[in-house]
Symmetry: C3
């Protein structure tokens, strides 16, 4: 009854307004506002669903003895991350800023409590899932060897502090003032740098500090450690691609006709990324390599995240294609030359391709390509690295020195599932149970 009441009321209201014919324009603006809320929130829900995608990609591409742990880490990225972003992250990122370096108002959503503007809540909802994404990227690079409690500590700090500070430079504030990078004209529409490179550089710091998994680098040999469930990993990639429409297209945070171009660019870049990575891997390994191809789609998506609103569809294909090529080269370079052990290629997909996408936003800019904009884009890319990498590096060193960062050798051998959580991922899995 209650549920249809508002509609009935609305009609009565409009019927009466028709009679008096007062201020019709406000009504259309109100409907537009409702459409903006709808789109921002639906997009946020789709971005939330990316958490499932990250959990599956990371879990599927690593060994079955660490899968429960990966699930727990992803669930906590979102859960502790949401509480952390509620308490302080949102205020630092979008609070009123005088300096352009961080916000100082709106802790614990106190601004909503004060003025009851529901837009603050809609905007928070969209932003909290972005913050959780930045956190979850790190999980992949440090998989299969990180202590759970250490990971929790880290996750709260990135969602509450490291990510929001850079975010405030590029996207702040919701109210008054703007970030110093934004003031220079920095283009990062949906977060190639703000979300992905930030996550990627923190992942790089983490992977360096924690060191490779046992058995990964033995003497001069680089051993491939295969995952345990490619179908789950692939489902994760499809879920991420789906959720990315919320991520990129939703970043309008408004219902407009602009969303069509962003959706098309996102599609074409992802497609071109997958195709590019497939052919490069085919030429290198003589076979079209599945994990490279799947990472290629993600690379294309990361690459188009910054430029999605200000490049033409043809450029999106080029951007995605290059991202697909880059990711294969970068994964091999980091794995085999730098000998940094990143089990799922998170540093390459998010860090490196995030930087590429941010540069591409300048190079293919439909509003005009100038040396100035290229310079600002490079400045933003550099600033992200210079803020995130050292901060995260120090943080991981601090964690290592206090509560400990890495499980011990026996725990790593037995798997984090049993050691950290007392439970296997597939305890009763029987292929022919009736014959057991």
């Amino acid at each position: 009854m209650r549920k249809v009441f508002s509609l009935t009321l609305l009609f009565l209201l409009f019927s009466s307004l028709t009679a008096f014919a007062e201020e019709p324009e406000i009504k259309a603006a109100e409907v537009q506002r409702h459409a903006d809320f709808l789109w921002t929130l639906i997009a946020a829900f789709m971005v939330f669903f990316m958490q499932a995608g990250f959990a599956l990609v990371e879990g599927g591409f690593t060994r079955s003895k660490n899968t429960v742990n990966i699930i727990m880490k992803n669930m906590m990225d979102m859960s502790m991350g949401a509480l952390s972003f509620f308490a302080i992250g949102f205020a630092i990122m979008f609070g009123v800023t005088k300096t352009g370096w961080f916000g100082t108002t709106g802790f614990f959503l106190s601004d909503f409590a004060a003025d009851k503007d529901p837009w603050v809540l809609a905007f928070w909802m969209f932003q909290v899932v972005f913050a959780a994404t930045a956190a979850t990227i790190v999980s992949g690079a440090m998989a299969e060897r990180t202590k759970f409690v250490a990971y929790l500590a880290y996750s709260v700090v990135i969602t509450g502090l490291i990510y929001p500070v850079f975010g405030s430079w590029a996207w702040g504030s919701l109210y008054k003032g703007s970030g110093w990078l934004e003031a220079l004209g920095f283009i990062d529409f949906a977060g190639s740098t703000v979300v992905h490179s930030v996550g990627g550089w923190a992942a790089l710091a983490g992977a360096i500090v924690i060191g490779p998994r046992h058995g990964k680098y033995v003497g001069n040999t680089v051993k491939a450690i295969p995952g345990h469930n490619l179908p789950l990993g692939a489902l994760g990639v499809f879920i991420l691609w789906f959720g990315w429409y919320g991520f990129n297209v939703g970043s309008t945070t408004a219902a407009s006709t602009d969303i069509a171009l962003i959706a098309v660019n996102t599609t074409l870049a992802a497609a071109a990324g997958a195709v590019g990575a497939m052919f490069v891997s085919w030429s290198k390994f003589k076979k079209p390599e599945p994990t490279m191809t799947l990472n290629g789609a993600l690379a294309g998506l990361v690459g188009i995240t910054a430029p999605c609103a200000n490049v033409m569809p043809g450029s999106a294909i080029i951007i995605g294609l290059i991202a697909g090529v880059i990711v294969v080269i970068s994964v091999l370079f980091i794995d085999q030359v730098l000998k940094i052990d990143d089990p799922v290629g998170a540093i390459s997909v998010h860090g490196v391709c995030g930087a590429w996408g941010t540069l591409a936003a300048g190079l293919f800019n439909t509003d005009g390509v100038t040396m100035k904009i290229i310079g600002v884009q490079l400045l933003g890319i550099g600033a992200a690295f210079l803020w995130v990498f050292p901060t995260a590096f120090i943080l991981f060193k601090l964690i290592k020195a206090t509560i400990g960062l890495r499980v011990d050798e026996e725990e790593e051998f037995n798997g984090l599932d049993v050691e950290e959580h007392g439970m296997e991922a597939y305890p009763d899995f029987q292929i022919h149970p009736s014959k057991a």
Copy 2:
């Protein structure tokens, strides 16, 4: 061609209207109406997707010999449930009511056939997926031992009768009259009681009547029976959380700015529920327990379902946190003290936390906390139990006495997949097929 025709027509229409400048307000109201339809239907689709989540949670957290059966039960909850709700459920729940105890019009959607109001269809679409949710909850508590045909009989009755009758008390009618609980001011915005407790108490009745699985309680020993696929179960939890945004936020059945608060509260309660359950399980078992943590997120979601529209974000955190604590205690109490075998914790998650959420809607009510509203909330909680538990208990006893409720011992041992459906869940699963 046809697809863009309507748009073109629309523009012609508006162009001509601009010329005459007649009744502009109606236009905005029409657009609002379209937005209401969009949101109600998109939310319904998201709630539909929860069926996949329930199937995965239940299948993943039980043994691999019963997985096909669980898939079939969940598929039929939706399929037979939709037909049952079409034929009679919707009429009983939302038909014109004179008494406030059940509706009496609109069987087989006859009201739509009569007046062609499309809102009836949009509303039906949103409600049918709620009805299927109530049914599917029971499946978990009775998993691994229920005869398929008995389950079908039960599923049709809950979707067509037990659920709609209580629903009519709290939410009816769509047309004329209202339910007796609603008339008292009962707050259950999205169904902590109407959907979750109703499903939970029916699950309790079912679990009692059918008895525990063989090997669960041997003498004084309570044996843990582990599931077979935690990653699938975890994916199910992420899907449920995603779908819950449709469930709670969609319950406005209107596009408005109110949806932002509901989305934020839903997020924070789920997060707090997961965190709460994790820390309680950590303190009890010395390790952060994954199934408890995942159930904690669901507990937070069930808890916030009633109060999501009329509490502040800070309260949502408290509500979710308490739900996360309650669910751990309740699961252990039901499993080890009451010795009722509920393989996935459905009674605790949906029944108990549904009651908590309904009480919380009174305790944290932003419209004012009075003894009267607390009393009404308690009355609603009690009424749900007193209607559902005895009715479902009698129904299961009737099924037991006629077509039989439980598979025989050999069938239970061999698994329901082979015995009931002639097919295993993983018949050709080979880890190294090329070496086979």
Copy 3:
């Protein structure tokens, strides 16, 4: 900052407009246009997600030695398909047509580059995921034995040529002129014929040309080759059902109240299809058969795709029920009488039930059932078969004669995963890893 700027601007704009009270109708029309974009794009994203559903259904219902290959094929259906549809498919299907047999403008989205109408992009986004769906259907019927490179060649041709040509007959053009079938009044609202039968008849041609899997037909014996992961397959079906709401309901490509009827019809037909197939299989095999039941839901969905907008809910149940019956009979007939090896039943689900749905759109038409409309529907069904089957047949013969269509016997025995991609689906899958 940028993200809320547009909203703020909007309010300023409307405030000023209120003062002058100029052209209020245009504002409402603009909001409607935004809502049309939103719905068309959200629906497109849901249809995109169906790619994950197809990958899981096909992968789950086939053997574990070919799963990686299936994932790669589905990923490339979308990725190479999007590039192919961008380059030529969209132009052929929706470009300006003089003859009614194919379009001739808009290659590489050049029309958007020319006039910047964002609707072209929104419409492209919706259509590209339909094209990818048509391609992906074929993958299932040819699973477990097709060379990857041959499949790529085929996939590009169906997305860029075979599908768009028929599409232009029934749905073209976006601009000027219309297809010859459309001009006759052919009803295929969301593509029972345009997408599903087209995919199904191409699948039929492919399955005939490539021949059955080794071991499928030995002498007069028809061997069942079970799949490897029914839970994944079932998840795929749930994802497809969810995505189908985008497919059918989104085919309005406009936000209107019409969407409610389409959603309800889609739900009831899917439910009735699952129920129908379950009872038919139950009566035939003495047990409710899970893969038949799941295919029944898909059959109901394919069946309602053409008629979803112009039949009553009661008719939708009948259409779905009949589709559920048809699919069981057709699968058995094709498998055991025609001895065509279609591992997932794609020909029956999409080809045969697509034809049934198209006929049903005439038989149950709420706008009046006439001999003429029945004739036109039959003509459309026949035209699809006569265009697609021979074209695809020749194409597969050509591929066979040049780059080769089928892997050799040893590769088929070892599995396409290792042979074609150098990687297994579950390389590290260990049930009790800590005891390894």
